[in-house]
Assembly symmetry: C2
Homo-oligomer: 187 residues x 2
DNA sequence: GGCTGACCATACCTTAGGGTATGGAGTTAT
DNA sequence: ATAACTCCATACCCTAAGGTATGGTCAGCC
């Protein structure tokens, strides 16, 4: 999986390596020469597979978008679970370590790439609507569900971007958070 | 205020212009040549005032840090207000339009500059502790205050980074949010 | 065996942007 | 007024990084 069996490279070999780089060091680390070095190849290879840097970045975006959309559709099966479980799944997902670097790198990238921005929005919307629906199912008012779902999603985004400046939530905190978010509204 | 009266430039003229650029287009837009053009000057001037780019960025960071620290200490006088008002002030600050671009640009910059990162953390902590203290004053448990204050601050950070993907909170939403955050804990 | 096309190496060009050396104009001190 | 200092213009250099042109190598096919 780390490298294809063939000595020749495929488009996926390039985009895969670039995505790894993107996660680790941000979009600024994607340099043609560097990728060539890491893949044991020269620019001749790169420009055979891709017209230019923009085309390459577009290919990377495309690959990531596809992967993300697939991951999201995988989450759709959560509809079978009870509402609270769905919210818990989303909350845990927002806390997941692996998401951090992806989040930060991609949102930074989305600033320059409309296509990436669209998928970011899609992902946010997906989580938001899922939580909102769960809260509605629990009997909350429309306004209440909207507010609380928005709060959770925004907090998740913020958590990904905070530089560990604030106390990291524990598993207990998550439980309390869910309890709080699903608590009855007071008049 | 837009330009100093003298035809000669001061260090503040440079850092001020750079900060404006930083807010508008991010740290990547800070180029020496461009700043020279916008200030109607050449690189000879720049390198008289600053040793190199790093020194310049350090000066910018220093200026922004000073300004931010001052703004934070200005907020300290909120201690006189009742708890709910303090929370409202913080919530409104997190929503403030002007904060967005600053937030995003600076957090991106903080990734590379430890000094900037420190002040970002300070600012986050400041708001967090203020909200937490207000909640404690309102009779919430330590755990509860920590959870809710963290939720608000993280949501604020997330709001600054979200690409307007989710519904923008209205003034009403803020009021409901404060009511929710300060609502009694349920057993 | 030789041909063809996929895949890559080598060498080079070009631009952007940081950095330097030097001189000149304006100001201030003596 | 002239020496000295401040502030800036001009003209360079250097490097990184995207991009191109061209030739070479290996696989598979006839």
């Amino acid at each position: 999986m780390t490298a294809s069996a063939s000595s020749r490279l495929s488009i996926d070999d390039w985009t895969e390596r670039a995505l790894a780089l993107l996660m680790d060091e941000g979009v600024g680390a994607i340099k043609i020469n560097r990728l060539c070095r890491e893949l044991g190849v020269t620019k001749g290879s790169f420009y055979w597979h891709f017209a230019d840097l923009d085309a390459f970045l577009a290919a990377i975006a495309e690959k990531w978008c596809a992967e993300t959309r697939e991951a999201l559709s995988g989450l759709s099966e959560l509809h079978a679970l009870p509402p609270l479980e769905r919210i818990r799944a989303m909350a845990l997902r927002l806390i997941d370590d692996r998401s951090w670097s992806v989040e930060r790198a991609l949102r930074e990238w989305a600033k320059d790439d409309a296509k990436v921005a669209v998928v970011i929005v899609e992902a946010d919307q997906f989580v938001f609507e899922l939580v909102q629906a769960a809260l509605l199912e629990l009997g909350h008012s429309a306004q209440d569900a909207r507010l609380r779902a928005g709060l959770l999603v925004y907090a998740g985004i913020g958590f990904a971007h905070g530089q560990a400046s604030l106390p990291q939530p524990t598993a207990d905190d998550i439980e309390n958070l869910i309890t709080f978010l699903s608590s009855e509204a007071q008049p």
